[in-house]
């Protein structure tokens, strides 16, 4: 009995390895790991997990989410880029892909990945305390212009993080020095917003969904979003462009694998991701959390990352945050 089972399994194994060698559409045949470079419970983690569960249904193999946090995203992004390019380790890459290498933290940039799909972008917003004298971007910028540099403080993420660049870019587009408002680094949008409520800073340039709880609690108001169009969840918040400042910036999230993923893997995963992206489950989830939904396939995603990489590099150099 035992011998027969053993023989049978050896036989199966031989057949299976032939299958791989022949490459006859065998992918995926074992569990896939999705690396998320940010902590469990955050926005990137939440979107990564919903994608994983929907991929699992469609691919028929387990899809596990692994959080590799720390080092301002470097640890997780490096783990995705350095994974074996066999399609069994992919990950969620975020806007920091176009920032970390400019800051000199790592050599990894968008060229270290095989882009698969861009699925989310959240524009930056401009939040102030509810009792702030400013009711529009014009009023705020006029006040900033009228006072000496460093009078006002802003927060929302770490030094040189995406929301810091949002502020700097906005000031630059309005014809002011990009560091006229002092940046106060924080551990993320939530502590920055809390400091805003406590009176520690004057402005927080996080995304509007991140400020939702405090806006609902009547502690914070949003003056603008840095996007082409208003957010349907917050229709009363105008865009920066409407208020005469030509600047847009958002944080994006996409799925990618290490450089050099086989054609077969790309051809399997991209249609599945596209299908998920259009599914009701995914759309409902994103709408409920207030996350923006976009879609770009591999080529468009790559072009998008190249364009953003150059733009972010320009702002970071201007601010003195880029090395070399």
């Amino acid at each position: 009995m035992l011998r027969r089972t053993l023989l049978a399994s050896i036989g199966l194994a031989v057949v299976a390895s032939f299958g791989i060698a022949a490459g006859a559409g065998a992918y995926p045949e074992r569990p896939i790991t999705i690396i998320v470079p940010w902590g469990a419970g955050g926005g990137t983690d939440a979107t990564g997990r919903i994608l994983a569960s929907l991929m699992e249904k469609r691919l028929g193999v387990p899809v596990n989410v692994v959080n590799r946090t720390g080092g301002s995203g470097v640890v997780g992004h490096a783990a995705i880029a350095n994974a074996k390019p066999d399609g069994y380790t992919i990950g969620v890459i975020t806007v920091e892909t176009g920032m970390m290498h400019w800051a000199g933290l790592t050599d990894i940039d968008y060229r270290s990945y095989t882009p698969l799909a861009l699925y989310n972008e959240d524009p930056a917003g401009v939040q102030v305390r509810v009792d702030s004298p400013w009711n529009s971007i014009e009023e705020m910028l006029a006040d900033i212009r009228a006072n000496p540099p460093g009078t006002f403080k802003a927060s929302g993420t770490g030094q040189g993080g995406i929301w810091h660049l949002a502020l700097a870019g906005m000031l630059d587009a309005a014809g002011l020095e990009s560091d006229r408002v002092t940046w106060v680094p924080s551990q993320g949008a939530a502590p920055g917003l809390q400091d805003l409520v406590a009176g520690g800073v004057d402005i927080v340039t996080s995304s509007v969904p991140e400020a939702k709880a405090l806006i609902d609690a009547g502690k914070v108001k949003s003056l603008a979003v840095m996007a082409e169009a208003r957010n349907p969840v917050f229709p009363e918040v105008p865009t920066l462009k409407e208020q005469g400042v030509d600047w847009t910036l958002g944080a994006w999230r996409g799925i990618a694998g290490p450089e050099g993923l086989p054609r077969e893997v790309i051809d399997t995963l991209v249609p599945v991701l596209r299908e998920i992206h259009e599914s009701k489950e995914f759309r409902d989830f994103m709408a409920q959390r207030g996350f923006g939904v976009v879609w770009k396939g591999p080529q468009d995603f790559e072009a998008f990352m190249a364009e953003r990489d150059a733009a972010l590099g320009k702002v970071m150099k201007k601010l003195g945050l880029a090395k070399g």
Binding site: A46, V74, P185, Q194, V197, A217
Partner: protein, 505 residues
């Protein structure tokens, strides 16, 4: 009111109640094993909580710790070895009662008044945390800087036997906290180009190592024979407890309130609560000469105080993200993992989860009564569990936990290195609690200091400009003054806590 009902429904769901029961048995077991502490029980629970929803995960921790603190009384009364440091204050009284053949009086008092103390702590937690959170919304980096510094100062200077050794331990913790990418300027420190180190020393593996691995090492070096209790039969434990309740009601209330308050103080936990309450109980007692000779009064008050402190410790943990003891230091890690970031906005973001935590405290303390009774009945069986099997199993759980947090072997490495470090420190008489608080609070102090300096354009006086910050600053400086006095003018050693304290056991 709606989130309150949602919270009750979450806690009373069959799966949560099942988790509470299982965690209760686990906590009783760990607490009753001499040497295995409530903090260790919490550290071992962490990997299990990965697979749970937030409410069952937190319920498991709350229940385990409440049970473990009570269960520490069992070996204290029967073997004269406190199961956890929190039972050490009154072990003499409990053991002498047993020697007189009255083990049921000692254990009954321990159980009944643990439950009452726990309930008082729960009431205070549930009633003050939301108010405090509203107040804490006004805290900026200046206030947080002082608050974190105050916590560290208490831990290092007041809550330890030797302020100098406490300080060394604290500095070691602060050093570990500086490893990784600096959050304010994005500069990698002590990373040596290792990508894993850029993320810093993640503190759950560190905590598991320092509390659990060090204990396993200690066991491996000094193995003890199995022990048998002196009194074989335990009578009806609930008899006479009503009389105790009537007789010692003011002391009981004082013990519970004091215990909660000490729990709130960062760095001071259940063990200090028990010592301080025991000392006060003797001072206010009508018959102080009976203390230490098998008198139940101290057990009533200190037994209530150590359980009350558990609820108290959650107050600063939930409201400010500052742990009240080493158990809540681990809890903060679990809260972040579950997307329930501690801080004043926790009330706005997930009120139902917060109410569920409060409600769990009541449920856990009520469960303590029947489960504690069972533990007393079957205590002799518990002692028969061979340590040669138990300790390797604990090490295995540690490995799984340290690996699972980030799915890297690196976490296991951190755990082993820090476990060895903690073992060497404790063997040389250095308390490890200040090091733990250094790891947890170090980044908080540094970041709030730097952001405050940026806001104030480098003006140090700004730390005293906001009224709350000024008060906190003055209090912190007073603590330093007190510590300096103690370091430079050593006083004759007073009775009470020695080296192990400050551990929140």
């Amino acid at each position: 009111m709606e989130p309150v009902f949602a919270a009750i429904a979450l806690v009373l769901s069959p799966s949560t109640l099942l988790v509470v029961s299982a965690a209760g048995l686990f906590g009783l077991f760990v607490g009753a094993m001499p040497g295995l502490t409530a903090t260790l029980a919490t550290a071992l629970l962490v990997p299990v909580t990965f697979f749970m929803d937030p409410v069952p995960a937190l319920a498991a921790i709350v229940t385990t710790t409440a049970m473990a603190i009570f269960a520490g009384d069992l070996p204290g009364a029967l073997l004269r070895i406190p199961g956890t440091p929190a039972s050490a204050a009154y072990v003499e009284d409990a053991y002498r009662l047993t020697r007189k053949g009255q083990a049921e009086r000692a254990l009954g008092a321990g159980l009944v008044f643990s439950v009452i103390g726990g309930l008082v702590g729960s009431v205070i937690l549930a009633s003050t945390a939301p108010i405090l959170a509203e107040f804490a919304l006004r805290f900026s980096s200046f206030e947080y800087f002082w608050l974190a510094l105050f916590g560290l100062s208490c831990a290092a200077f007041i809550a330890t036997g030797s302020p100098l050794k406490g300080l060394v331990s604290l500095l070691l913790g602060l050093f570990i906290a500086t490893i990784g990418i600096d959050i304010t300027t994005g500069y990698p420190r002590f990373a040596f180009g290792v990508v894993e180190l850029m993320g810093g020393v993640s503190f759950i593996p560190a905590m598991i190592g320092m509390f659990a691995v060090s204990e396993v090492l200690r066991w491996a070096i000094r193995r003890k024979r199995a022990m048998t209790p002196v009194q074989q039969h335990i009578g009806r434990i609930f008899r006479g407890q009503m009389a105790n309740l009537r007789r010692y009601r003011t002391g009981l209330l004082r013990g519970s309130l004091l215990g909660t308050l000490i729990g709130v103080l960062p760095g001071a936990g259940a063990d200090i609560a028990a010592w301080v309450t025991y000392a006060l109980a003797r001072r206010f007692s009508k018959e102080p000469e009976k203390f230490g000779t098998g008198h139940v009064e101290g057990i009533v008050q200190a037994g209530a105080a150590n359980n009350a402190s558990l609820g108290g410790a959650w107050i600063p943990a939930l409201v400010f993200g500052i742990p009240g003891d080493s158990i809540t230091a681990i809890v903060i890690g679990v809260l972040y993992m579950k997307g329930m970031n501690p801080g004043p906005t926790v009330m706005l973001d997930r009120p139902e989860l917060l109410y569920a935590v409060f409600f769990t405290f009541f449920v856990a303390n009520l469960f303590l009564l029947p489960l504690g009774w069972l533990a007393i009945k079957f205590y002799r069986r518990l002692l028969e569990v061979p340590r040669d099997l138990l300790m390797p199993f604990i090490l295995l759980l540690c490995m799984v936990g340290a690996f699972a947090i980030n799915n890297t072997v690196f976490g296991v490495g951190i755990m082993l290195v820090l476990g060895l470090l903690a073992f060497l420190m404790e063997e040389s008489g250095f308390p490890i609690a200040p090091a733990i608080l250094g790891i947890v609070l170090g980044p908080m102090i540094e970041q709030n200091f730097i952001t405050s300096m940026i806001k104030a354009d480098g003006d140090l006086l700004a730390f005293f400009e906001r009224p709350i910050a000024a008060v906190l600053g003055v209090v912190t400086i007073l603590v330093w003054g007190y510590a300096a006095l103690r370091i430079f003018r050593p006083q004759p050693a007073a009775g009470g806590p020695k080296s192990e304290i400050g551990e929140g056991e």
